[in-house]
Structures are given as C-alpha cells and as structure tokens.
Symmetry: C2
Subunit: 379 residues, 2 copies
C-alpha cells in the first residue's frame, strides 16, 4: 500500500501512458516499422534540444553520451577545458583524462557557477584548446550554468562548446542552435520520463568537423558510426528498442504541453520548494545567482543526519529524494523538479520532509513548509 514517489534527479517518475508502451511486445529493429519510430524519436528530440543539428541515439546511460562527446571529437594530446563544481563536472575531467586529453580544469566552488569571463580568458591565452566541457544542471549541487553566455564567448573561437544536459534537458531552457552549443549529451531518465538505458548526443557542423579528425580509441561510442547509420535512419548497434519506442510517447506528451510551458512549470515547482525550505528555517545550498529549477538542494540542519533523513522518507513513507554526494554526504537533501511531477507531488514531498525533520528532532512550525509552497502555487 506504500506510495512510490520519485522526487529524485533521475530516474524520474514514468507516466502511465509510457509504462503502457514499455509493457508491449517489442518489434525487430531492422524493419521499416522500427525506422518509423526512430525517425519520430529523432524529430521529437530535435524539438526538445531546440536544434536542427543531428541527434544520435545510443543504448547506454547518460555517461555513455558524455564519453562519446569526448572520444568522438578529440585525440590524445588535444587540449580541453573542463568546468568542475560538482560530481558531474568532475566526470568530464575523468573522461578527458581517460583519453589522454590535456585538460585545464576550471575549479568552481560547489554551489556556484562558472564565470564566462574566466573561460574567455583561458581561450584567449590558449588558442589551441579544442573543446570546453560544462554541465547544464549540476545535480550534485542544484546549480544551472549560464550556457547562453558561454556560447557567446566560445563561438568566437575554434573551440566547441559541449554541454552535459543529462539532467537539464526538457526541464531548463537550452537553446542549442540560438546559443551556439556544439554538442549536447543527454539521457532518457530525467526530463524525458523514461527508464534509464538510452542516451543522446546532438552534434553541430563545427563539432562534426572535429569528428572527422578524431583519433581516440573507441568503437561503440564513436559518433562517426552513428552519423553514418543515421543517414539510413538506422543505428550502428542494436538499439534499446523498447525505450526508443516509448520515447515517441514521451515526446508526444512533451509536445502536447509545449517545452516553454514545461520550463515555466518546473520553475513554479522550484520556487514553491525554495519557499518551503525557507519557511522551515533551512537554507539552500546553491547560490541565488545560479540556482537551478531542475532540482533544489536544501541544507540539512546540523543536528540532523541527512542520510538517515532520506532513508526514513524512502523506507518508511515511500517517498524518494536524493541525499548529498561526496563532501555533501549527509549534509543536503535534493528534491527534483523534473519529468512527470506536479504541484501536488511537491506538496507531498514537502509534507514528508516536514514529518521526517520533526521525527529527527528538528524544531520548526509543522505545516509551515507546505503552507508556503501552497502560497506560491496559489499566487
């Protein structure tokens, strides 16, 4: 009888109509029938990516799309900038280092976002930097980077701008073409409301040119193979058929609402959650200037063990939020606003957080979080 509510920044809730498609018998992938689905999926992804660029579909988790965005564009010894400031920014560095890329790490304080002026200076001083790797929504801290400003800086150089939008795609505005974003890595299990297992990469002409000269050792994540297959509406390796077919339903749902409306919807959920946190006397981890609408990272009171808090909500009440990672372990709670969630899900989550905080001995006015969130929803 227990609720199973995912307020986690991936995987997110899978809506009933998508579950229904996932539960159907599959078809073979080398058929005109599957090609129709793949074509529809890619067209729909272009709408969500806000791009006319190619978008490739890979059977892997989001990290696979990130790896493809390193090994398909660069060669060992090439220079790149990676922007850290959280777990996923660090992943860019690890990926570049795995391929022998000479990496300049821009180490942003956790909870803050990168200053485009820093990137401009580095690129001015190092004309041979080939790529800049950044994170749209850093889910470990609840920060959103200013991709538009970075795009303006980077498009004037020979470098490509590569964005990890695994968490942000479909949740936070990312105008790939208008903002000159050369490659975007994303995944199925966040804004797209699908189970994990499918990843995507969009590739601009500038990035495609780099692809031709790339010499990294790789096979499955070599985007040249995906480009060639895409010309025949195909994939180079067996696709995750079931999830790709379900993706067409996800994209239908997203188009029905309209992505601009979804961005506003998630902003509203985030605003209400931030208001609730403040009403509970809790501060937010991310700096106001770059706070994300895709998830809210709330500092747990010193007297409370954040790990235990998350376990209590999940195992006793069936409501799953994320705890902190790395140095933030036990110190924050992260509530996602992505995928198939509405204001009642947020109220449920906040009510549960109140209950768990109360049981953990934290002193506050019970009900004040829910009331504040509701005030935002009713305004």
């Amino acid at each position: 009888m227990k609720r199973n509510l995912l307020l986690t920044p991936g995987p997110t809730q899978v809506p009933p109509s998508i579950c229904e498609v996932l539960g159907k018998p599959i078809i073979h992938h080398r058929t005109p029938q599957f090609q129709d689905y793949l074509k529809e999926a890619v067209e729909g992804l272009k709408y969500v990516f806000q791009t006319k660029n190619d978008v490739y579909v890979i059977a892997s988790s989001g990290t696979g799309a990130m790896e493809a965005s390193v090994c398909s564009f660069l060669s060992p010894g090439d220079k790149a900038i990676t922007v850290e400031g959280g777990k996923f920014g660090e992943r860019w560095t690890e990926l570049c280092e795995a391929y022998g890329i000479e990496t300049t790490v821009v180490d942003v304080e956790w909870g803050h976002s990168v200053d485009p002026v820093v990137i401009k200076k580095l690129l001015d001083e190092n004309k041979d930097i080939k790529a800049v790797y950044v994170t749209l929504t850093e889910t470990s801290t609840g920060v959103t980077a200013d991709i538009e400003a970075l795009g303006k800086v980077i498009k004037e150089t020979d470098a490509i701008l590569v964005v990890d939008a695994v968490s942000g795609l479909g949740v936070t505005d990312l105008q790939v073409d208008n903002w000159s974003v050369d490659a975007v890595a994303s995944g199925s299990h966040k804004g797209l409301m699908l189970p994990p297992g499918v990843a995507f990469v969009s590739v601009s002409d500038k990035a495609a040119a780099l692809m031709e000269s790339s010499k990294c050792s790789s096979y499955y994540f070599d985007l040249k193979k995906y480009k060639k297959a895409a010309e025949k509406t195909d994939t180079p390796f067996t696709p995750a058929i079931g999830i790709v077919i379900a993706l067409t339903e996800s994209l239908r749902l997203i188009k029905e609402d309209g992505i601009e409306n979804l961005f506003k919807h998630y902003e509203r959920l985030a605003k209400a959650t931030r208001a609730a946190a403040k009403a509970l006397g809790l501060s937010l981890f991310a700096d106001d200037s770059c706070i994300s609408n895709a998830l809210t990272a709330i500092n747990v009171p010193d007297s409370v063990d954040g790990g235990k808090l998350v376990k209590l909500m999940r195992d006793t009440y069936g409501i799953t939020m994320a705890g902190g990672q790395a140095q933030l372990k036990g110190k924050i709670v992260r509530i996602a606003h992505m995928g198939c969630l509405d204001e009642y899900d947020m109220l449920t989550g906040i009510a549960c957080l109140e209950k768990a905080l109360n049981e953990s001995g934290y002193d506050f006015t019970l009900g004040s979080g829910v009331a504040s969130a509701q005030a935002v929803f009713n305004s």
Copy 2:
C-alpha cells in the same frame, strides 16, 4: 489483427510475464530495494553462465560487453587472436584494431567453425598472445564453435579465452567454469527474452589479473569500475533499471524450466526446422559438423530473392525472420530457436516460409516442410 512473431536471432519474443514487469513504474537504483533485484539478477546470471565467476551488468547493447572484453583486459600493442567466419567474428577484429591490439586473424570459411588445432599451433608459436576472441553462436552463418575444445587448448597457455555468447547464452550449452572460459560477453535480447539494452560480462580470475594491468583508454566500458561497484552490489553508472528488474523475471522463468531442458528444447526446434528445410528441397548454409541449434540458416533457391522473401513474410504475414548479411545478403533465410519459442511457433514459421516460397514461384510440395517438422516433434 496481424501476428507479430519474432523468429529472429535477437531481439526475441518477450514473454507476457516479462512485459508485465517492464510496464511497471520503476524505482530508484541507489536503494536497498534495487540492490535486491541486482543481487538476484547476478545470482541468476551465474546459473545461466554456469559459473562462479563475477558477472557484471552494463547498460548497452551486446557490442558494449564485447568492447569491455577487449579494452578491459588488453593494452595497445598487446597481441591477440580473433576468430572470424562471420559478421560477429569480424566485430572482434574491428574492436581489437580500434584499440591498437596486434591482431592475428584466423579466417574461417563462412559456415564452418574454427579448428582448435590451428589455435594451439598459433599459441605455441606466439607465447606472448594474451587473448583469443571467439564467437559461440555465429548468427550470420548458423555455426556454433567448439568452446570446450578451445578451452582445453587455451587453459594450458597464458592467454585468456573470451567468448561472444550474445546469441548463444541460455540457448546452447556453455559451461564457463568446466570449460575454462575466462570471459563471456552476452546481452539481454536473445536467450534471456528481454528487450535489448543490457549486456553482461563474466570474468575469471585469470582475466581479472589481466584487468589490473590493462591500459586501454576507456571509461564506461572499464570493467575495473564494475568490479569495484559490484563489491557493494552496485553499478558504476545508472543501470537500465527497468530491464534489470525484468531480468529477474526472465531468470525465474529459465530456472523453472532448467537450462539443460532448454538446451534440449532448442535442439528439438532446430532439428525440426532442418528437417523441414530438407523436405522443401533446400540446403542448410552451415556445415553439419558445427551446425547451431540457436538458429538455422537456410539457403534460398537461386530463383528466389531472399531479401524479398523476408520482407513478404514480415510485411504481409507479420512473421519476422532474418535475411543474410554481407556476402550472404539475399541468399539465406535465418530462423531463430532462442528465447520464448515453442514447436507451434516453428510450425507457424515454416508454414509461412512455404507460403512465401510458393508465392515467389519456387516449385515444391506445399505442406511438406510442416509435415516433416511435425514428424520430428511427434517422434
């Protein structure tokens, strides 16, 4: 109203009870609840792999598991043998070459299997060969390799035996421990009756030792990461949650029947199909000495276009078989005996093949194929 019967060597039919699990809302993967599923899945896989070795679960197609079995064990400049003789044997060579492995290709005639004596001679003459890559069931030709004999030869050397069992696992006997197989790459969408999107690798102690010294550039397919995560019943990257949970149902079904019984069952389906082909006056592509029970490759009459034949069966009658690949394009039809198929599915497939051959102008006694298959089933 059209039937959707997959007689293809991957993907295979997904049984109703697995579809049901796939259609359920998912849960978060960093939870004790998911750990229970992962543990059950890995234990069940060990039963199917017939091994006590570690088995790692990767979110990718089968090729990802093959890539992991190259880049996690070897370093650029290392020597390896790849056994060709079909599309998937060639993939081993392509993978090794992508990583700068010095590859000795054993080029077996298509339709035949490798002679273990050839491998022994090569290993005797080249003591520094680190790995031998072979294919259990070469689905492009319908051949099964003698892994037991290869294991006997290779275990006496420093080399590891790595088997692509993407198609054969759970269909054809593969005694990983008894036959000294060091690594096996497999996938979810063949014998395991799941949609594609999850892959597996088993790793022996001998292979694990190589893993420690491997220096290939890779990240997502670096098995060291999977080994470390597995120690905490975890995966290094977001797993394909839905398919992993469904895998526990697949393994339940397989255990219920017992794999030895399944091997006999598929042998029976294959024997009946071979009898049907002969009754129709058609020859088999694979040599008798190494013919596979996982799928039957039937030579199409010269007067018939095999590509059109497959399209006719699929698009008009809703029964999907595979055509020929590469130099066999248009020349063979491949009928799979893997996953959730019974004798009535085979009779249906053979009846459809008869109908399509008849419509293609091929002269034979209508009904003779079905009758011969039925005779095998009733014997």
